[in-house]
Symmetry: C2
Subunit: 377 residues, 2 copies
């Protein structure tokens, strides 16, 4: 296999790894959290502000971009990096997940998925070959194999059937992927919460050979305990010399739990979506900025946070912005939340480097359970 | 009168002046355009980005802030500068204009205006004394006298009656204003489009004595020609050693016309509001970024513009953001539009300094009439 991406494990602490993934558009410090840039923008954030939160890499959504502005148009305009003015690494998903969650009138067969666009109702077909082509047109540093996402409620037979289809699609994805310097293709382990199916899937993917291995089909309603238990049985079966990516995860506590189990990469809309619904993340848990108790509170959101939002604004002001429906509210809360998530990752990386992950994780989770600071008397 | 603000005229070109207005929070280069920060935020812009567009001073709205979060709350939190994290000068309006345009069930008498809040229907009374108190609580560098805004359609008798009420309120505003170092009070000339009423109003204000003189009651539907004609008869009657502020104006052509007639300060929602409705200002006039002709256009909005938006993004991308209803669209268009307006002011200041205003203004207006650049072939 052409080695498109270079992954170096720099330190270990238990199952956790400190690493570095080099791409054509720069290095990614792992464990890494990838902000989601669905429609060629991390919502409410200019790219230089995303970078300033500490993000090395962002995620783009194949499904959204193929429909608007279309992959061909992005390619004509110089690729996704140039289009959205993000010079760093980009991972694109395969479109499979959004086809399941957003599109209407889906029909799945061996070839791929045919669906109606949620934007204009147009009929579109997505196959492994087309998904890989779209991701190439976008100029992804990390391309994801096309897979089917199985609902959490599916029977074990359905999960097995779906996983095996995804493995055949993974082989077609690999065949369709043209290796390029500094770019790579990740396979996606499926199999729901069933250890034997996860093992079968991991083996099938390693037989094909990928630059990295993602764990898909989690964070779909199974809860943190089942998710971590599934990682316990899945991660040890993945190659030690390749990055491992847990898709669509998660809360700060999820990130800590998954890093301790050897996951290197994450993506989630939680910090950005929460920023648009007045939910702020702090070291003492989440805070609803709409709550009237913040109305006269001169303190920052999180006094341990060094982000421009916590240095420049009071809770009272952030509360005012949310009450007044001012766009600056989502902008500032997204900026803080993304910084918070990047700080969590930086803390985990530092703890792994020091061999102090258990201690760090214990303190972090304990503080997270404290609840928000009490009101000023 | 205690001299709270220092205004220096540095150069003249015809009636136009290049100046500098010093306040407790810094200097304002005039002619100046003030972005509008209605509810303690210039919509869709963090304050450091507002500063980076070239703005020296912003405007805050007494009406909005008195209702939410309230002037007392802002004062408790350290004043408007600290609350919104804008360290530069702030001018607050008196609330009179918004009471007329936004509030319901108004009752005006000699004392002041009683109205129902557009937010919660609460009954509120605004008098000259209360308006000045609110502006002091907010910590305004420039406080505006409380006035009544007369509709453009009013008869000359109504305009005269209203103007004389505003002049009595101006005297009460002056009496209520406590001079502070680096802060000042502006009077507002009323009188509609009637030269004799404008002259009477200006004389009344000068008799009271203010730190600056605003021209109010324009840009309310009279059109550019009548507006400029009214300036022609009003501005020469104002003191030469005080700043002159044309309220609520205007388009780039309005700014050029008014500066040539001796106006030093402006405010308008046009660049910010347009930024939220996909209207972009360029040296060749306005452009609607929703228009499909931009969909594949790799060029910047305005190739003569050095702002981060024009340096970092294509028209195609800005079009995509507006079509996808992404918050980054209003954010970037507002940033560009505010930069454009500040560039207009910087160009005018430079032209005055060089004694070349007529030539500059002629070229500027000619280019503005060209219309947008033709599509790429």
């Amino acid at each position: 296999m052409t080695q498109g991406l270079t992954f170096s494990v720099l330190a270990r602490d238990g199952a956790a790894r400190l690493g570095r993934l080099d791409t054509a558009h720069g290095a990614i410090r792992t464990p890494a959290f990838m902000p989601v840039g669905t429609a060629a923008t991390v919502k409410a954030m200019p790219p230089e502000a995303v970078k300033a939160t500490g993000a090395d890499i962002i995620l783009g959504n194949t499904y959204h971009l193929m429909l608007r502005p279309t992959a061909e148009r992005v390619a004509c305009l110089g690729g996704l990096h140039k289009f959205m003015n993000w010079p760093g690494p980009i991972l694109t998903d395969s479109g499979g997940y959004q086809v399941m969650s957003l599109a209407k009138l889906r029909r799945i067969d061996e070839t791929g998925v045919t669906f109606k666009s949620h934007l204009d109702g147009a009929t579109v077909t997505l196959t492994p070959e087309r998904s890989i082509e779209i991701q190439r047109l976008l100029g992804a540093d990390i391309t994801m194999a096309f897979d089917e996402c199985t609902p959490f409620t599916a029977t074990v037979e359905t999960v097995a059937h779906s996983m095996r289809l995804s493995m055949r699609w993974a082989r077609r994805s690999k065949a369709a992927f043209a290796p390029r310097a500094g770019a790579g293709l990740f396979g996606i382990v499926q199999g729901g919460i069933h250890p034997e199916l996860r093992a079968e899937s991991a083996t099938a993917l390693m037989d094909i050979g990928f630059d990295g291995y993602a764990v898909g089909g989690l964070a779909v309603g199974e809860g943190q305990e089942l998710m971590l238990r599934t990682l316990d049985v899945t991660v040890p079966g993945l190659p030690v010399d390749r990055p491992r990516y847990l898709m669509g995860v998660g809360t700060p506590a999820d990130l800590v739990g998954a890093v301790r189990r050897g996951i290197d990469m994450f993506d989630c809309v939680l910090p950005t979506r929460s920023g648009r619904t007045a939910q702020a993340f702090t070291r003492r848990g989440t805070v609803n900025m709409r709550n009237a108790r913040h109305a006269e509170d001169p303190r920052p959101l999180d006094d341990a946070c060094a982000c421009p939002v916590c240095r420049g604004y009071s809770r009272a002001y952030l509360h005012h912005l949310t009450k007044a429906d001012e766009m600056l509210g989502p902008m500032l809360l997204t900026q803080h939340n993304l910084t918070f998530f990047q700080d969590v990752m930086a803390g985990l990386r530092d703890a792994i480097a020091r061999g102090a992950l258990d201690h760090y994780a214990g303190q972090f989770l304990e503080t997270l359970d404290l609840g928000d600071v009490p009101p000023l008397s």
